[in-house]
Amino acid sequence: MAFLELSGVSKGFGTAGARSEVLRDITLSIDKGEFVAIVGYSGAGKTTLISMIAGLIEPDAGTITLDGRPVAGPGPDRGVVFQNYSLLPWLTVYENVYLAVDQVFADWTKERKRLHTERSVAMVNLGAARDKRPGQLSGGMRQRVAVARALAMDPQVLLLDEPLSALDALTRATLQDEIERIWERDQKTVVLITNDVDEGILLADRIVPLSAGPGATLGPAVAVDLPRPRDRKALNHDPRFKRLRGQVIAYLLGPGGRPKLRGVEKTPLPALPVSA
């Protein structure tokens, strides 16, 4: 049995009559230590999916099990990095991380908790900003704090909900490298939700496309067989990278695309010059 297992998971919102199904029949198995990226459209239900794994919302149908035990409510075994950082603005960087450490490792001594917090803050290169409040930090730095807080809990699974989508391209690239470095070191199981196919290929072992909603479901998984560490500059010209990218995009624009777009495919757009 896989480490993290979703089988036949569905979720809808709204009351009977005006009810719309967001996710339909989601089945996915993730091995321990595996890095899986779920790529899909905005509004397809990606956040709903990760919230269910996190235990913040319950599926209407189907089961989610982690290490053989069904997921019932949130817990420190699953660290979540939210899209909008979700830091507490009245606490400093250190205090935000310490809050998690203090809760998860309640039986540690104060000194040990302090050291662990310092280490987590240093790991995302925020040592210099440890006493700043989130309001004084840039978006990239805030997201690092969120990553540090999630990692400090030493979770079995790290759930990343579009953690980088609000950042500019350069910050994004830096943080992608940082996430890869941390994953290489800890070999944690990671589920990354993203709308960026390239980001998925760069980081993940396997990419699972999520079709457009309503009633989104998972498409055929694509294994990323590129050797690590992956160099983003070399990757752009790698034929395997292009093939993987083509496979995922073909699904997202084809069978997994928006219903209204499907008929339009017969009038192809003129080919644009590819920019470097």
Partner: protein
């Protein structure tokens, strides 16, 4: 405007407004209301009370700030009761929709009742003017704190609550690390409005109970036909109320977190 001009405007423009009121007062006292003392006369008669603001010449004849101090002490007591009762009540209202459905209608009915109406009930309940005064101040001043705190709790972003759930925070930590800090800005808005009401209520309460204080003094001087002192009291009440609001405004801003 140049910086110097702006600074001058900051001082001059409020003076323009004050002068207009002073002028209207002067004209009124000369023309249609012969009983209204003129500004000059008011100053003359009030001078001993202002120049020696803390003097105590007798029970009924004290400096204006000494009277104001008695009032402030009474307000502080009533206001403290209002906060101690109102803040937890607001929290429970904000947290529990069931509680809100039970108590919100009755709160909306009690809220607009004037202090003049509560005071007699207080006198009936406590048979003594001091606790009746406290009862009235607390009851009237409580509502902004209750309603703003409740609104603040309801406005806590889901993100913060999700953090509490993901971290499995205990009830106590959830309250002190998330709920209270997230609600503080709203709470302090409530505190500021409550203080304004408490100060508004004090005058009416003192008038009716004859408690020594700025409102009691005002009423006593009306009965003694010393109308100059009525105006002195009105101005003092206004200035102190303004100062209290500025003070609470500063505290409120301090607790606003970006």
């Amino acid at each position: 405007m140049k910086p110097l001009g702006r600074k001058l405007g900051l001082v001059l423009l409020p003076l323009v407004g004050a002068s207009c009121v002073l002028f209207a007062w002067m004209v009124s006292s000369r023309t249609w209301s012969k009983n209204l003392p003129s500004p000059g006369k008011t100053w003359e008669v009030s001078k001993p009370y202002v120049v020696e603001p803390l003097a105590k010449r007798g029970e009924l004849d004290q400096g204006i700030l000494r009277f104001a101090w008695y009032s402030l002490v009474l307000v502080a007591k009533g206001y403290s009761i209002a906060l101690l009762v109102g803040t937890p009540l607001g929290f429970v209202l904000g947290l529990s929709p069931l509680f809100t459905r039970c108590f919100d209608p009755i709160i909306q009915v009690l809220r607009p009742v004037s202090p003049l109406a509560w005071l007699p009930l207080g006198l009936v309940l406590f048979e003594n003017s001091k606790p009746a005064a406290l009862f009235t101040i607390a009851l009237c001043a409580m509502w902004p704190t209750v309603l703003n705190t409740a609104m603040g709790v309801r406005a806590i972003p889901q993100d913060y609550l999700n953090v509490a759930r993901v971290l499995n925070l205990s009830g106590r930590k959830r309250l002190f690390k998330i709920l209270i800090p997230a609600t503080l800005p709203y709470m302090f808005t409530g505190f500021r409005l409550s203080l304004g009401i408490a100060w508004l209520v004090i005058v009416a309460v003192e008038m009716l109970t004859g408690t020594p204080g700025i409102g009691g003094f005002l009423w006593q001087e009306y009965n003694s036909l010393i109308y100059e002192h009525i105006i002195l009291c009105i101005l003092t009440i206004g200035v102190i109320g303004f100062a209290l609001d500025l003070l609470m405004g500063a505290v409120e801003r301090r607790f606003k977190v970006a």
